[in-house]
Symmetry: D3
Subunit: 239 residues, 6 copies
Amino acid sequence: MRPSGRQTDQLREVTLQRHFTKHAEGSVLVSFGDTQVICTASVDSGVPRFMKGEGRGWVTAEYGMLPRATGSRNQREAARGKQTGRTVEIGRLIGRSLRAAIDMELLGENTVTIDCDVIQADGGTRTASITGAFVALSDAINGMLAEGTLKKNPIKHNVAAVSVGIWQDTAVLDLDYAEDSTAETDLNVVLASNGGFVEIQGTAEGEPFMPDQLKAMLDLAEKGGRDLFEIQNRALTEA
Amino acid sequence: MRPSGRQTDQLREVTLQRHFTKHAEGSVLVSFGDTQVICTASVDSGVPRFMKGEGRGWVTAEYGMLPRATGSRNQREAARGKQTGRTVEIGRLIGRSLRAAIDMELLGENTVTIDCDVIQADGGTRTASITGAFVALSDAINGMLAEGTLKKNPIKHNVAAVSVGIWQDTAVLDLDYAEDSTAETDLNVVLASNGGFVEIQGTAEGEPFMPDQLKAMLDLAEKGGRDLFEIQNRALTEA
Amino acid sequence: MRPSGRQTDQLREVTLQRHFTKHAEGSVLVSFGDTQVICTASVDSGVPRFMKGEGRGWVTAEYGMLPRATGSRNQREAARGKQTGRTVEIGRLIGRSLRAAIDMELLGENTVTIDCDVIQADGGTRTASITGAFVALSDAINGMLAEGTLKKNPIKHNVAAVSVGIWQDTAVLDLDYAEDSTAETDLNVVLASNGGFVEIQGTAEGEPFMPDQLKAMLDLAEKGGRDLFEIQNRALTEA
Amino acid sequence: MRPSGRQTDQLREVTLQRHFTKHAEGSVLVSFGDTQVICTASVDSGVPRFMKGEGRGWVTAEYGMLPRATGSRNQREAARGKQTGRTVEIGRLIGRSLRAAIDMELLGENTVTIDCDVIQADGGTRTASITGAFVALSDAINGMLAEGTLKKNPIKHNVAAVSVGIWQDTAVLDLDYAEDSTAETDLNVVLASNGGFVEIQGTAEGEPFMPDQLKAMLDLAEKGGRDLFEIQNRALTEA
Amino acid sequence: MRPSGRQTDQLREVTLQRHFTKHAEGSVLVSFGDTQVICTASVDSGVPRFMKGEGRGWVTAEYGMLPRATGSRNQREAARGKQTGRTVEIGRLIGRSLRAAIDMELLGENTVTIDCDVIQADGGTRTASITGAFVALSDAINGMLAEGTLKKNPIKHNVAAVSVGIWQDTAVLDLDYAEDSTAETDLNVVLASNGGFVEIQGTAEGEPFMPDQLKAMLDLAEKGGRDLFEIQNRALTEA
Amino acid sequence: MRPSGRQTDQLREVTLQRHFTKHAEGSVLVSFGDTQVICTASVDSGVPRFMKGEGRGWVTAEYGMLPRATGSRNQREAARGKQTGRTVEIGRLIGRSLRAAIDMELLGENTVTIDCDVIQADGGTRTASITGAFVALSDAINGMLAEGTLKKNPIKHNVAAVSVGIWQDTAVLDLDYAEDSTAETDLNVVLASNGGFVEIQGTAEGEPFMPDQLKAMLDLAEKGGRDLFEIQNRALTEA
């Protein structure tokens, strides 16, 4: 029995509130249960110097967490003058995941910068970030199409992410903090709506995980991915 | 005629949403019109080393802004490895302002850290931060009283802040971005509910401001302060 | 009775030694009693990138303090790799104050960088810095006029600064360290010689200050400003 | 046909030169073909502050690359004052991987710090680092056992790592730079000699990879892991 | 003929103004011609952690230069967040030089920190710094003796420094900027009043210097050292 | 009797292994006894901005040490975010030394960057670095001549370095760690094969060293230089 009473293959309640702030070209408040992340997409014409003149676009991402998004306060990274390894690593993961959704030729020499800022953390902040960021990115892309900056939609397929893990010897979907902090294995899976995998990152916290456990987790992840694509699509078709 | 259609002595709509996030001892989403700031208060027993053993408490604050809180994206300070001068200066102002509200002997050797993170900016982020932070601080203090950490309430009076300025030769209250970016003079005033001033910071953007203009601005600030104290008190008496 | 035996409206002895060092276009050793600051003005043709092509000039300032300018040694900021919030804040204040003295169109696309380095501190380092920096800036501007870089004098009026405060319930002018460290309220006022205010920054260290106290302090500041403009002008007319 | 002429399931030549430098408790030069990494293990009594008094040990790792380990020179991270995100991420991966090999209770309150410094890079630096670091860690542990610091061997099983990928639509083992830079998918797998997985990190560089491709890569990884454990064990039994 | 008209073995005018600022335990304004450096000595009881309990003292030094001490403005190191290699190197040289003057057992567990801040540069800032710092250190030590912190004088001998060089094929003493910037060889020599050398640092800017040139320079340095010890002693015997 | 049993004028065994790594234009593993340094030379067309258009080349160097090159582990400078003063100072010394070997006109607008990374330290890391770096630089230059980038050899003479010191009252050549850590005086000498000195850096660790001791050390250094030039030349003539 999971702490939240959920089934092993059941996501937390996932909500995607578009147009959450007014300035960004895409702005989404995503929640996976009590985990809440503001995802914004900012569009700039031009690309980083090393890519100039190739006719291809760029998508990059940064991740942050408000100091008191967690049970005890973390030092503010800007005040400390340095991002933690974890922060840098998650920002890089989000960027790679979203780049997999985009045909860079069709994006042309434009850059979309994604910011994912966690305002409340309860496990799964990176998977919520990727899932919400895809919707913010879609809104930004749709704006570029509407205003004629882009002629053709560069989005190849949805991208969403979910965590799976081995908790009390059982494979479970979408771990919350209570599960995550006691799980034996934690696997973050980024999926594409064409049925493929974009990223897989799994870590055995204690004992190594066995091939059959890996298979059970991957099956759950695929199920979770299908649910998330549906939630994304529903949100994107709302006015 | 102000861009927003407001009277010269009229605040924007001010809202204070308490318990906005779940982990912090005090958590308030404050909005002054389209300016929105998450203010959290975090309680720690103990004080910084240089104050140990004196039996007095400490209140400190930090300020931040999400990269896309503004019309164009600002570089993330944590990624850049350095806070801007403006960020540091506002954090220091918020801390001084809130310390003026507290009897440090009654707080005992406890530290309250205030974080003000702007999620949407439309002028007046520092005044909104101070006004909202006072409510977050009050919630944290009330929690300490409820659980017996504090015996007596250390809050001496409310503290709130408002901007006034000279815009098109007229003194106006609570400038939004459209006014702020074209104002001749900008004065931020932090007030106490006992009728006194806690901080005054005024800057002539172009021509120096004259003594009679200063008087007109200070009168408006006192009026704005009275309005804000009422809004704070109403929010604090809600369940 | 003030520790120094001064009247409540009496400045410390203020001296302005021009041409203090030989390389800078303007170089002034200013002293407000025992507070001593080296102010230099450095002229560069060109302006920061974001201002290019607008035909306007720029004035910026930085502040520093020698490690042993004070009673006990402070860590060297260059060694520590970071300026304190106070340092950054004062540098920004000096820059804003001096920009208010200059017609940027007449300065043309030139930049003047002001450096204020405190070699001995006894209260009022920021007000001494601004007062001395105006003279260094004037010398630099006069040099640009003499060599024909500028056709018309861009200086609109003098700028000087003075602190006022409430010390032992009395409003006093130009606080030294002994007063400053025990004052209830400290107000730094930057004045223009046309009778206007450029900056006002006041902080209640303990109790909020009342409107009548504010009025008394502002009156003293205006008196102090008149004295300082006279001292500046006298220095500038010396050979 | 692979650029190196290898079979799809064939490792590059892997060598492990123990006692490569004289000061470290464990010191191994590992090569996977032309990729060469110096792995050292340094033993300290005591653990980081947050773990004190729990009777458990700690293993941590850092990664670096000489500026000219690669085809063109990279800026020295120490001179730049900042590690890249990639560097931090790999250091964290190495640390997690090795911690999975150790029973921290049996290690007692001792810390082993692993340094992996790449002197020549040709693809697979992180997998070579983990594979070599395990041998350096083993030497350090054996030294602690020999001198009586440890009573019982805390090593639970071997840990080694290998990359697999989809290159020209085929799953291949242990990609060198020529393959890695053109692979469609890159999967780094850290394996334990008990048959389990410690870490899985896979990224689709272009198109998402399909479940059957993932299965083919995981099978190759298990084969490569068995080969590496044998090579490690052979090295460790040499005098 | 030297630009300044000096003899080859002639120092610039050297002055040592003691008690230059009021807070430091030793404070000297040293000038070697137009080169001017403020040298302060700050006394703290206690020593750095790695020396605790050994009963020995410590002397350390830092060096800095005001941004406009030179012909064109240098970026402020504190603002840049990093000291240049040259700054760090000179600070270390000053520290080593002064430590050679002191019997650390007799200094006891006290630390003297020397700050040398160049306010005007015209060549030879490091040699002026060392020569002036010795006098500031002496004043600080004499203060410790006077107040009974020290029982016995830990100063073993004077330390002073001078530059020599090959300028237009001739060995010259105490190069000013005009000579230094065109010299073929520059040798900084730190001397002790017992006739020994404390530090020798020589660099061939263009062609290597020959053994006979080295001998000529060392002879000049010894002559310069004798002159400087006399100037130091004369300054130290003034009231 | 020296700890190593060497004569007072005897170098440790010096080896120079060329083509140590495959990517760099010059790559040498140098050992002076147990001190081992990887020296690489990287060639770039172009020069730093401040030298552009003058038709002259540039040689620069950086120095580093693997964390466990020494008896106890040193913090990794890249992780710490800052190079120590010692590291910066040695990098600057290596750069100056090698520039003395090169006719910058003949090098044309090309930059050679030397990296010296110590993998095992036993005293004399800077002298080994310079001696090995000259060979790496020569290989890079020879490559540029072979491929026609350079028309004429810009190498004016060999450069090599050696330490000498006063150890137990005797002048000795090429101190190893056992001697270096107890030497009274340590003098690093960089020599040119035309018989001149490029750099001399001597420090009295305890008592100042006397003129006759200096002479004895310089004589030993000249002898060591002759030995090193022979070893360099022998290495450079190997296939």
